[in-house]
Amino acid sequence: MDVVNALAQGLLLGGLYALFACGLSVVFGVMRIVNLAHGDLAIVAAFCAFVTLSATSLPLWLVAVVTVPVFSVVGYLTQRLLLQRSLQSGPLATLLVTFGLSVVIQNLLLELFSADTRTLDAGSFATSALEVGDVSLSYVGITGLVLAVGSIVAIQLFLSRTSSGRIMRATSDDPQTAALVGADARRVYGIASAIAFATVAMAGIVMAIRSSFDPSLGPAQLLFAFEAVVIGGLGSLWGTLLGGLALGVVQSLVAVADPSSSVLAGHLLFLLVLAFRPQGLVPARAS
């Protein structure tokens, strides 16, 4: 069954998109900004893992486990040292800064690593799959989906159960009043950024195991992540998961008929949602 298989592959792909998207969703929810370098950061993570892997004899899983927290620290620092400044200079500045960052990252990677495509060598893990009937679900794909769901559950728990999460929601509602109860917006934004960097690093590494990558792939990942957020509905993490899955499934199903149209079909789904259901599949709770 081609269609059933395509559906299953689409869900796995969509899981990866959701993993790309959840950080974008969090940052937009808290700071109302989109980091245009989001996709490029995933590629940076992939190259970091690639370099570490070739320079050391560490196993891939360990490299990944180290890269992710390192990225969250880098995310916190990027926010505090670079983006916070631009947040204060008005709404244009953050876009310009993150767009500049995106161009810098892409071209730096190009100079350092050339335009050659690479893959992260994950040995048998990359090639083995779970066979369910006629459908074969790759372990890498399953990992992506599980990480997406896991990340979203973790972020939700963080937001609803911890005091930092509570203050993050308060800051998202009303930063001035949040300051009156002691919230330091810079710290809150730093944490949101750390979450985004950590999840996008995971996504980048999973993507790099799944398929080959090169320095130019960042923007496409940003667009898919963005589409997942909008399709799902702004301000809802579960919506983002659903949006990612919908995007993956549509791309995958269309690819059965015409592989060259699959990305276009995803974009069209996004435009359809924009035209007919601008609040997204799962609208955020009305306040």
Partner: protein, 236 residues
């Protein structure tokens, strides 16, 4: 008694507009000072500046004798200055209890905790899981006060508690003030209703166009002088 909060020659601007000018004020521990004045007199601007939400253009704000003029809002609340903002400003995506808990973020210990707030407002426990937007105006005001109390402030500032509330509700909220002061916290409140303010406070401060036009204990102020100072009718 020693002064908890001292304000010297304070100026606050909104852009070009000087909304507070040359203001002096003292607040003793356990004291209740009311700032009165017409709409646009600069009362909110004053409180927001004292809370650190607006920068002072000149002048000094001292807390327990220490200069806090340059401290931003989130650090000032950690030193014990809490503001219940005009219009309540609860966090709409948080429940009642979560709104209260945000006050813990100030990191101050003291007698105010969830249990104490729930004892002060006995209807609140039932509603603690509700989204804050589902409450009535008076209940929201109570949550806003509770949230500020949860920071265990030395100075509690209340901006127009009665705004948009029915008189009975206002009275019930004011009835809680003595309890709050009894816990050792000074209160600086802004009120448009002059008789309400005169009844509650032990010191009244009248603002007109950002300047103090009259100040003193309510017992020593006569009605006509207050009215003149309030509306700027004659020279006070």
């Amino acid at each position: 008694m020693s002064a908890v909060l001292q304000v010297h020659d304070l100026d606050v601007h909104h852009g070009q507009l000087r909304a507070v000018s040359g203001l002096d004020l003292e607040l003793d521990a356990g004291g209740k000072v009311a700032v009165i004045g017409a709409n646009g007199a600069g009362k909110t601007t004053l409180l927001r500046c004292l809370a650190g939400a607006l920068p002072a253009s000149s002048g000094r704000v001292l807390l327990d004798g220490e200069d806090v003029t340059e401290l931003p809002a989130h650090r000032r609340v950690r030193r014990g200055v809490a503001l219940v903002p005009e219009g309540r400003r609860l966090f709409p995506s948080l429940t009642v209890e979560e709104n209260l808990l945000t006050g813990r973020n100030a990191g101050r210990s003291g007698s105010w905790d969830l249990a104490a707030v729930y004892e002060l407002f006995d209807w609140m426990p039932e509603r603690r899981r509700q989204p804050s937007g589902s409450l009535s105006g008076g209940q929201q005001q109570a949550v806003a006060i509770g949230r500020a109390l949860m920071t265990n402030p030395r100075v509690l500032m209340l901006d127009e508690l009665s705004l948009g509330l029915a008189p009975v509700v206002v009275r019930r909220i004011y009835e809680t003030l003595p309890r709050i002061v009894a816990e050792g916290c000074a209160v600086l409140l802004v009120e448009q209703d002059v008789s309400q303010a005169m009844a509650v406070a032990d010191h009244v401060h009248c603002l007109l166009e950002g300047r103090t036009t009259l100040a003193g204990p309510p017992s020593q102020l006569d009605r006509a002088a207050v009215e003149a100072a309030y509306f700027g009718l004659a020279e006070a």
